[in-house]
Symmetry: D3
Subunit: 194 residues, 6 copies
């Protein structure tokens, strides 16, 4: 039986890709042990691929008041609200790895109010969901609530920017019917043996 | 009286910007006669600026079955659904210019069903709004309806991609409270004299 | 090419109308320079025409704490929420004229939170939108917030009454597919030369 | 104990009202045996009172393809969707009387799909609810469905017009917190003895 | 003419039912004077019947801080929000009887904010509707508001439990298209003569 | 550090429970290797506990056209729509075990349209979600669509009944803030070694 399609669109072969894109994909493969499907499927459009990952990296690898795990929490919570299977599963895995916590991703995807996270993180996710779902209603009170939890204005841009970027990402994934790699489902759930 | 703020965040001076960003802004200024506020305000974060406009150009300047005016229609219709003042006003202006039509932008922003556009364009905008508002429900029937109006699968990616990119753009604009330049409101409304 | 239809329903000729209705229409034409389509299209039903404009005038021409521009702001904001093209375009024009402000109508139609208006006016529009969208939830707290901005109870009736009247008006316009006159789109955007 | 207030606003005394309004109220009182609270409470604003009832009568007393009971069904169904206590209770009573049916009003207020009404009436109410809740989405398919059940275009205006008028009425009632007369609750429920 | 169906599913005859179920139905019939349709229609599935009424009784007959009338208010308010005809009509009747109040059921079904009930009861119903409509957002503030009105934590479980049970009940009634007995509509509306 | 609370309410000790409830819990513990928290937390109210599990078993253990895995799919999909962490995690585990499929639970919780399930199962879940989210709109067309996929009317009751029962269950879990056992998160994800 053929493996299930990972996109509604043609998926390029690694050898047909521009050098920079192939290099990025090989680098990810080396690090993760497999190529996440978002790389191969978006490579169908090289220019959008480059812009997508440049934007992603600018927000997710940025220094600042948010930890890497917190950035992934924002991704998982907003992707849950947008019912994006790929992002819930793939970024859920990354969140488990960064947070060294096997449970937090499923908690945040379902309902951040029940997650084992700090009040500060709950305030962060409440705002991220507002950006995801009703951004036209953002006002000064939202900034005040976030500052009250110690977030700087640059942190707030990060929170909102990540929620906004995954508003894009979730929609593209739903558009092309992007399938998560099977590997993601288990990643970070079982403690590694020493 | 001070002019109203164009962003909740600091707006860099042109002379403080990296060369490539300053060059892009000067190019736009030369072409448009003014600097749209999205350029100056996003320049607060140069890496995101570069990714944003690279993504924008990849979708909006791409060859394919959609005209430039149709691409702007998608922006205006979805920004209307997201209540994003900047994008409605700025891209409404661009739509008027590209379509050489003083009325279509206000029509599409309010209710595309009442706009002076073709049935094919109405099918396009119905899908764009689905991507904007309920992308998890996209299915094969949507693709069939679009193909029935002559759209190729690459056109469909363009439609969905633009709706997805402005899902991001609308949210960032609402986050930073991006103010449209006064110039946009009138642009394309008055026929130029020969 | 025929001009586009201005209603799904037959549009009476001026000479076939009852005297009082024809007189009102001629009066408007004299004042505005053209006949707004709402007059000709509603004249298809003379009794409803008379009641409609009597109600309109009772609310919009009433003395009280709200300026004429503020009354039109309520119309534009609630019509934006109801996606009524005619009312956004026609009353947007009237708002620009009364407010002597070329920008405020597009701002209020998209998102009153971003408009160049006073906090008092934002409180007014927040309540108008509640009347438009979730009137069953109105309670004493709403009245307290409005009184806190200096509105009297009669002002509050005006705000709510205008929002309620345009709940009717928007629905009738959407029912008959009422087309705005082309003239409205530009009205009040270009300063008159002295 | 004082009787409960019937409005948030002052309620005029009969003797203080303009002659035409007092006459109308006395006429209703004679016919119904009591004065429905909507008359006394709206009389606080005589001009709006006159326009309101002129509009009401133009739609509800009009000749055409809809029976009086069907017109009241539209009122009750849309008032149910808008959670307007006064209109559900008062027009529920009138519906019971016109339809000579003690059950239909409660059925239509809760869920017209479960009511003992004809398929033609269900099509009518489905459209009325679309006018009440999402009028910007009305399109040719709606007209086709109604014509398929034998409704003329004038009937469709009646259906939509009544739904639109009670969009106004429900909002005004919720604004002023209009209390239904106790008499309405039982009216039409008990068969009259001969 | 045949009487209207009371369920989409077969309705068992009393003599074909297991003894315990028949006994319960006869007991209800003796008390109420008729057999409410929920009994006969759910008896199509005896095991679910037994569990349904055991759950019902555990919540509705429980001792505690809520009166029987208050328990029925919760049923009527949440069934109104779920548009469940059977539960609005049948439990509306029971509420009228328990509260000895001919008006309260129609008030609570339409909009509890307008009902002749205490502030404590309004707080109770606001929470019941949150359980019915957005239970994932329940948080400590809700418990605080209820405790502030004197409800114990066991009372709060009762309120939430009843709202939850009728979330089930409303859905089953809508699934099988359960028809209310005609008797319910009038019950408790006319004061009994002594 | 104390383990996190598994309920807002007191959790009884096994030795304090009525015999039948303790026996049931011990039986589950023997089978599963641990006591799912729903048992201990609901045991705070023995009568509701008994009714809850009687109802659960009547629907989930019933013979008929739905497999055990399909019944759990309904639970997971509707619990996902209701954002109920406990039910997503606990029944996701059970679904993985019954379906012998490590991926299907996360797929169905996020978006059944993207899951590796049959078209018949997608029709089943579309209906289950309608029961969960808008049961008042159920009509004959829904039954026709299900019959078209080979479901009997009794199967349809099962689908709707399970969706209705978990409408209750999700709300109770959210009310008491029921915490999933850590064991559930990993269950059924790793193939057992032979």
């Amino acid at each position: 039986m053929d493996p299930p399609a990972i996109s509604r669109y043609p998926v390029p072969k690694l050898e047909d890709l521009p050098d920079d894109i192939r290099a990025r994909i090989l680098e990810v493969q080396e690090k993760a042990g497999f190529v996440p499907n978002v790389f191969l499927t978006l490579a169908h459009r090289p220019e959008e691929f480059r812009a997508f990952f440049a934007y992603h990296d600018a927000l997710m690898l940025r220094d600042g008041g948010l930890s890497k795990a917190e950035r992934e929490m924002i991704v998982v919570a907003t992707s849950g609200a947008n019912d994006c299977l790929y992002c819930i599963v793939a970024h859920g895995a990354i969140l488990r790895v960064y947070a060294k916590d096997a449970l937090v991703a499923d908690q945040v995807a379902a309902n951040y109010r029940k997650a084992d996270i700090t009040p500060r993180q709950k305030t962060m996710l409440a705002f991220a969901l507002k950006v995801a779902l009703s951004s036209s209603e953002i006002d000064d009170d939202d900034f005040a609530a976030l500052r009250g939890q110690g977030f700087t204005d640059e942190d707030i841009w990060d929170i909102g920017g990540i929620a906004a970027f995954f508003a894009l990402s979730n929609r593209v994934a739903n558009l092309i019917s992007l399938r998560p790699n099977d590997e993601f489902y288990l990643l970070g759930r079982v403690p590694k043996k020493s």
